[in-house]
């Protein structure tokens, strides 16, 4: 490893630092923790830089950030709220259809709270899908799960978000 390698690493990896931080920030829900995770992830990335084949660098880095987050959690012996993947929640009339108007004008803070309330696997799927614009395949690769699992997680995550926002809307209006 020499200066040239570090320069090449900088050029390839640093442009995705925002994406890395955004994912870490949503996963940890804390600025300092997110910075720690990204820093650790970049160290790992640099370590594996030689074996990186040069495919999508952003996905590669995001996968490292994600793995770093989960090992960081284990180190802190905080168990993430794991959810079992399975069938999409039963869709029935018990879940009220929220008003479009409410969602479109959803207060940023409310939306933020709703996202932070999601289990980590759901949250990361939403962040990678809606904020990074990644495909199911890319998200599946990053999370090391089948595409079907990502589809299911996204559906369940959105259902939860809708319920959260609707309930908040109901509380607000009442």
């Amino acid at each position: 490893m020499d200066q040239n390698e570090l320069t090449a690493f900088d050029a390839a990896v640093l442009p995705h630092l925002n994406a890395a931080y955004n994912l870490a920030r949503w996963l940890t829900r804390d600025d300092q923790d997110a910075q720690d995770v990204v820093q650790e992830a970049c160290l790992r990335a640099f370590k594996y830089w030689k074996s990186f084949s040069g495919r999508d660098c952003r996905s590669w880095l995001l996968a490292i950030v994600r793995n770093t987050y989960y090992s960081w959690l284990r180190q802190r012996s905080v168990q993430p709220a794991l959810t079992e993947d399975g069938e999409i929640d039963e869709v029935d009339d018990a879940v009220p259809n929220p008003e479009n108007v409410l969602l479109q004008n959803a207060d940023r803070q409310l939306l933020k709270a709703a996202l932070e309330d999601l289990p980590a696997e759901f949250r990361e799927a939403i962040v990678l899908r809606e904020m990074e614009g990644l495909s199911y395949k890319e998200i599946a690769d990053i999370a090391s799960v089948p595409i079907g699992t990502i589809m299911s997680r996204l559906a369940r995550a959105r259902k939860r978000l809708q319920i959260y926002l609707t309930n908040a809307g109901v509380r607000k209006s009442s």
Binding site: Q3, Y21, N22, D31, V38, C42, V91, N97, L111
Partner: protein, 249 residues
Amino acid sequence: MTCNETKNLLNAYVDGELDSAGSIGVEAHVQACPSCLADVENLHALASSIQNGMLRYEAPRQLKRNVHAAIRTANPETRSTSWNWRWAAAFATALVILLVVWGLNRQQANSSEEALLVNDIVSSHVRSMMANHITDVASSDSHTVKPWFGGKLDYSPPAKDLTAQGFRLIGGRLDYLENRPVAALVYQRSQHFINLFVWPSGDTRIKPEDQLARQGYNIIHWTKSGMTYWLVSELNLAELNECARLLQE
């Protein structure tokens, strides 16, 4: 497609992840099913709320710096090599400066050496006429002049007779230039004398002609076949050039 089948695919449909057959199937059902249509609209609304909600965090400024620092701390070789690089760069810069200075000095030295030589050549030419000692061997015959130098120099200067072309060879002389004895061949054009100084130079390349004027004398210099030639005379430059051309033939 039933309502339940459709609802399972609605997220993938909204995300554009269905193949065209699946997409068409969902579309057909949604057009006929108000409940599914409402779901689709809600999913679109939710997606755009998140996408437009300015919810993406920007990495703090210092993060990049910290990442760099962390990498360098964890990989001391990057730091040491970076220092090596800096030293190498500094060394290279110093070397370049040294070479440039040396080159300039050399150039300056060369040009001052050449200026001295030109002065010597002009002086020799002037002296040869003032002292009435223009030739050691007076002959218009190159076969007389050329062998005359034989025992006096470690090289054989060309002694070309150009009488037919209007430059009469009148003889040869031993002179002293550049710390060595050199051959001076003397030509006459009407009332003007021309000194041709010849000696071997280390340079085997053919150098383009060099024309100078000093103290009213014209000087033409060239190098050919490892010999350096200096032609000097009060003769006008055009005629001296002709002489030089004939000598170079």
